[in-house]
Symmetry: C2
Subunit: 203 residues, 2 copies
DNA sequence: GTCTATATTGTGATAGAC
DNA sequence: GTCTATCACAATATAGAC
């Protein structure tokens, strides 16, 4: 091996990721994946027996890029308000690096909701532990009464939704200039953080 | 006509709506639409020349169910806090009646973002008028400084996202009992309203 | 308007040479 | 491991009888 060439398996996975994320499972074509990888269809089936298997690899990888990070920051031993600040900032940054993955994951999960039970990297126990300690932290911080589920849902909604709804937000609010979307999102980092922290503060 | 039979065109449109919304354009099959409508494929093409045309009808209809309502309430002559309350409540109600349409619309728009320019029921002028008067109302109400674009984005995110992310929210937060999702959403009506109004209030 | 039958093309997957 | 050629079937669309 001369060194700077990626191995074929990785080449295929990269191509498949791009095509599946852009087109979805149903819209993706093995031919297009092969073309993108610079190889032919037969080789695709040599490495991954079927379209389903190739998709499965891409999907698991995508899910694991995003999912654990949601609760990672939330278990840091810092003040809740700092957690929230850190979460919003870092989570929006992650999405900025892979802006189409949230829509991809959610579309595929809606297409087949059962999929998630196979893949979920959490036990119910881990989850209920996180939720009950978050519940405690909300009280300790002197915030308004809110269930941890509703709070987490709100945080994630405010981070992710604008990326999924970009085809609407861009033309309605920002016109044709794509740069303004980046600006809009960068502003949101502080805007959303302040919005949430203020919402949680009693009067 | 004996009375209680719908005409075939409507029968087809109903079937197409169900199938397209569940499977998306790429996943939908003309055969399945025909079966659902209780007719055969040839008749589909008799009424709608192609799959694209049939889809176009369904998509336009779906978009017009949802889109205008977003800004309808926002132009009522009532206090901003009342508008927000009314908007959250009525918008979540609309989504509850068509819980899969938001994911459908957003997926199809991401598949082809250009589509929206053909269909948008708003002129840029109407939009900028709404935004600048909303901007004024935020000041008049004595709320925190926030751009109308960010506020509207937040409101819509908090209403719509939980429906799109249901395949994640349900198993993580609510277990297997589907009824708990309805409960969760019903709670959100007041939770989200309070969350937003509190976020907008200066301390 | 509605059907059966069929044309035509697209698509995932495999066989087999090198 | 990689390719060309091809199979088998799925899917949109049309022709033509009733």
């Amino acid at each position: 091996m001369s060194g700077n060439e990626k191995n074929t398996e990785q080449l295929i996975l990269d191509a498949a990721r791009n095509v599946f994320i852009e087109k979805g499972f149903d819209g993706a074509r093995m031919q297009e994946i092969a073309d993108t990888a610079g190889i032919n269809k037969a080789l695709l089936h040599y490495y991954y027996r079927s379209k389903d298997q190739l998709f499965e690899s891409v999907f698991r990888e995508s899910l694991s890029t995003f999912f654990p990070r949601i609760f990672e920051v939330m278990s840091f031993p810092i003040e809740l308000s700092e957690k929230i600040k850190l979460f919003i900032d870092s989570y929006i940054d992650i999405i900025l690096q892979n802006p189409h993955i949230p829509a991809f994951i959610l579309h595929e999960l809606n297409r087949n909701p059962a999929r998630i039970t196979d893949i979920l990297p959490f036990t119910e126990k881990t989850m209920s532990g996180l939720l009950s300690s978050l519940s405690q932290e909300i009280k300790t911080a002197g915030f308004i009464e809110i269930s941890p589920e509703q709070l987490v849902t709100n945080m994630i909604s405010l981070c992710i939704f604008p990326f999924i709804a970009r085809p609407i937000i861009q033309p309605i609010f920002l016109g044709n200039d794509a740069d303004r979307f980046d600006e809009f999102i960068q502003n949101r980092k502080t805007e959303v953080t302040q919005f949430i922290l203020n919402a949680l503060t009693k009067k």
